[in-house]
Symmetry: D3
Amino acid sequence: MSNAPISRHPVPMQDELPEDVRARIVEVQEKAGFVPNVFLALARRPAEFRAFFAYHDALMLRDSGLTKAEREMIVVAVAGANDCLYCFVAHGAILRVYAKNPLVADQVGVNYRKADITPRQRAMLAFALKVAERSSEIGDDDYAALREHGFTDDDIWDVGNISAFFCLSNRMANLIGLRPNDEFYLLGRVPKAK
Amino acid sequence: MSNAPISRHPVPMQDELPEDVRARIVEVQEKAGFVPNVFLALARRPAEFRAFFAYHDALMLRDSGLTKAEREMIVVAVAGANDCLYCFVAHGAILRVYAKNPLVADQVGVNYRKADITPRQRAMLAFALKVAERSSEIGDDDYAALREHGFTDDDIWDVGNISAFFCLSNRMANLIGLRPNDEFYLLGRVPKAK
Amino acid sequence: MSNAPISRHPVPMQDELPEDVRARIVEVQEKAGFVPNVFLALARRPAEFRAFFAYHDALMLRDSGLTKAEREMIVVAVAGANDCLYCFVAHGAILRVYAKNPLVADQVGVNYRKADITPRQRAMLAFALKVAERSSEIGDDDYAALREHGFTDDDIWDVGNISAFFCLSNRMANLIGLRPNDEFYLLGRVPKAK
Amino acid sequence: MSNAPISRHPVPMQDELPEDVRARIVEVQEKAGFVPNVFLALARRPAEFRAFFAYHDALMLRDSGLTKAEREMIVVAVAGANDCLYCFVAHGAILRVYAKNPLVADQVGVNYRKADITPRQRAMLAFALKVAERSSEIGDDDYAALREHGFTDDDIWDVGNISAFFCLSNRMANLIGLRPNDEFYLLGRVPKAK
Amino acid sequence: MSNAPISRHPVPMQDELPEDVRARIVEVQEKAGFVPNVFLALARRPAEFRAFFAYHDALMLRDSGLTKAEREMIVVAVAGANDCLYCFVAHGAILRVYAKNPLVADQVGVNYRKADITPRQRAMLAFALKVAERSSEIGDDDYAALREHGFTDDDIWDVGNISAFFCLSNRMANLIGLRPNDEFYLLGRVPKAK
Amino acid sequence: MSNAPISRHPVPMQDELPEDVRARIVEVQEKAGFVPNVFLALARRPAEFRAFFAYHDALMLRDSGLTKAEREMIVVAVAGANDCLYCFVAHGAILRVYAKNPLVADQVGVNYRKADITPRQRAMLAFALKVAERSSEIGDDDYAALREHGFTDDDIWDVGNISAFFCLSNRMANLIGLRPNDEFYLLGRVPKAK
């Protein structure tokens, strides 16, 4: 199983990589214990790699009215809508870890309406999915609906831009047939022994 | 007409911008004669601005088996599919200029099957639209179909990634209600006097 | 480019045409300076030609609560929804001329929600697109929504029937691969010198 | 039941009608034994009435490679696709009469793939429904598929134009809530006594 | 016509059937005067046959806030949505008989919004079709809408479960190409002589 | 989390249940270690409960050319298509156990094209999803495609009927908001210690 190719395109060898790309990969490996396949698959195009992760970090690491878990909820819901296996599984794991909740990722990925989340989060995900699926219909009413739940206009930008960025990401993963690392499937599901 | 807001979100003043962002805006203004609104609207988030244009440049300026006009065809066809007014109009203009063809942008944006393009370009746009609309169904057969038209796997990556990137871009433009500059509508339609 | 066939079906010679059909073609040529391809392509079936243009004139030339520009807005929005290149381009030109507005046709054709039009016109286009795309769901509520914007029941009939007629027209143009005349693309985009 | 309004819009009195419109109505009444509601509902706009029935007659009465029953099959299949009760019921009756077959109308209206028709007719209906539902995708391959079943290009024009015309007709009927006459439901279902 | 196969799969001979299955078939034949094809086609799998009709009877024969005619309205509307010829025709007949109304089945099957039914029944069918087509979006609001029309929660369960059961039934009929008996087409259309 | 209601409808107390229903619940509890919520939620309607599980057992326990794991693959793929959280999670667990594969359920539920399964299984799931989503288009070609992979006609009936049955099941679960037991999420993900 683990021998299946991780992408339709060849993956570069570590020593073919520019220094900064390699450094980023080493960094994530040290933190996670393994290298998520998206880093290896995108590394064959260093300029795109840098832009992709810069965009990712700008959205996912910035100070925001959304918690990190909420941002990952958006990612997982959008991955479900786009049938993107990589993001469903990989970001499902991250969501479980951030939310300290072993159930919420599957719930949000399959049908956020049934998830153990707050009404505010449900409104956020409805908006994110409208951006993903019918963005041309977004109007002032949609902004107003989120403001009623206490979202600022900057928060709304975050919701919409995270959805939009993962619409790119899901399409790339689907394009190249990106395979989720086996490790992601279990991550965050088993409470750590103390 | 020109007084309509260019975005649902406030646009920063020139002197509020980081030096590199301002420099990029000055550069495009000198080249185009005006500042495309996407630069002004995204500038309020410098980190996202930098990543967005780095991604754009990585795809659209790189050496590729696709001509620049072909890459803009992808952009315009995807904008049509996503009902994105900004990219339809702005990249329609760029396509007309690159292709030295005043008709092709409207053709490709409304229905590429009727456009004055080659069978190879038609296959390229069919693939790009599948990435935009049903990426989870992309399979080896789709790659094979492009290879038959002489596309390398690197070219296919370009086709798919450009489509994916503008799926992000179209959603952001739809989200914030980004208004195309009036100048774009006519650009490339009238042959230059000699 | 101009040598591409204008239809999948042969186009009759001028002298093969019945007198009234030829007269209509001469008339439009004198008025427009060229013969729109729809006249040439449909002329091979004189009875259908006569009925088609009689229907067109009955809707587009009658006294109505809708201005001629508003009627053309409906045509262009419906053409966008049906991906009909001929009507998008040809009626886009007519709309620009009637509205004396070089931008509005592209706006309405790609996404009327973003167009420089009045709320009344936006409601009109929402109704027209519902007739084009989900007519079986039209109900009294839809009529009520237009009445609130001051439309009479006769105006609503006009909105719906124009949408319905161009659903026919768009399908015929798509069926026969009707090519827009090159002249339409630029018409109404450049202010006339005085 | 029979007292329900036949249209959302008022229906003119016989003596308000122009002579030719009234004559047409009298003619159909003598032939059918009742006045199909579409004649009454459209009569309030004589110019549109004339064009509508001229178009109808041009397509449905002309010499064609399609039998009259085959043309009605197209109408009923398209009515099913557009959820148009009036045409499903009224043209279902006409189809039963022309085909001398009490079952075929319901079969074709609900799912032509299951109908007691020839492979040639099945290909014809597949084409007609593509014109009705995805006309922008019609291409040379679709023409070729019909030619293989012996259809001439003129026959194909008929198939497509009948489908397109009833896309107009279905939308008008749905718009105005046109009610089928009670008489149509049973017509052609019971073999005539001899 | 009547010689066409009733299923893609072979139909068992009467004497191959288990006693209880044969008894059920005899019973329906005595009641209806003929054996509806669904009994013959499903009989080749006695365990599934028993479960299918047990489920059917549990829903359609139980004491309920819905009349039997209302339950058949749900069946016919769902059959229309699923393009299921067998259920459209067979249950259309049953609906006409139960409702003593020769028109309502075609109306409900093609477009329930145009049918001669009560507002309460229209709300019921809107709910049933949402279960059939977008069940993942069913929420408390949908329950509330039915309660306003006087439906109890048990009634709502009935509406939803009947819709769900015929989504199974329609798919089985479509799968095996189940042919409606000729007798169903006319049943309930002609008032009985007294 | 575990205190959330398991259904929109009240769940009966154990001692309110008929003996056979209670026995079935006791049996599954002894086998699984907990009572899957579907048993509790459906128990309020004993006749439907019996028919539902009789149908389930007839399909899922019978001798078949499909392994039990393959049958669960169909269930999980269909649950994904119908956005049914209960079946995605509960049958995902059963699939992992039967297939002794901790990854395959998420793969098949999100996008079977990317799953670690055989080409034969991929063809089976393509067919099952066509039954779930477009059953009216199933034709002899679809049967032929499965026969090429060695499926008998009885196997094809199984594939189609399992898909159809879970289209019922998914709609019921979505209707009543059926909550998956927390236990299912982890089941089959962690290899048992030996």
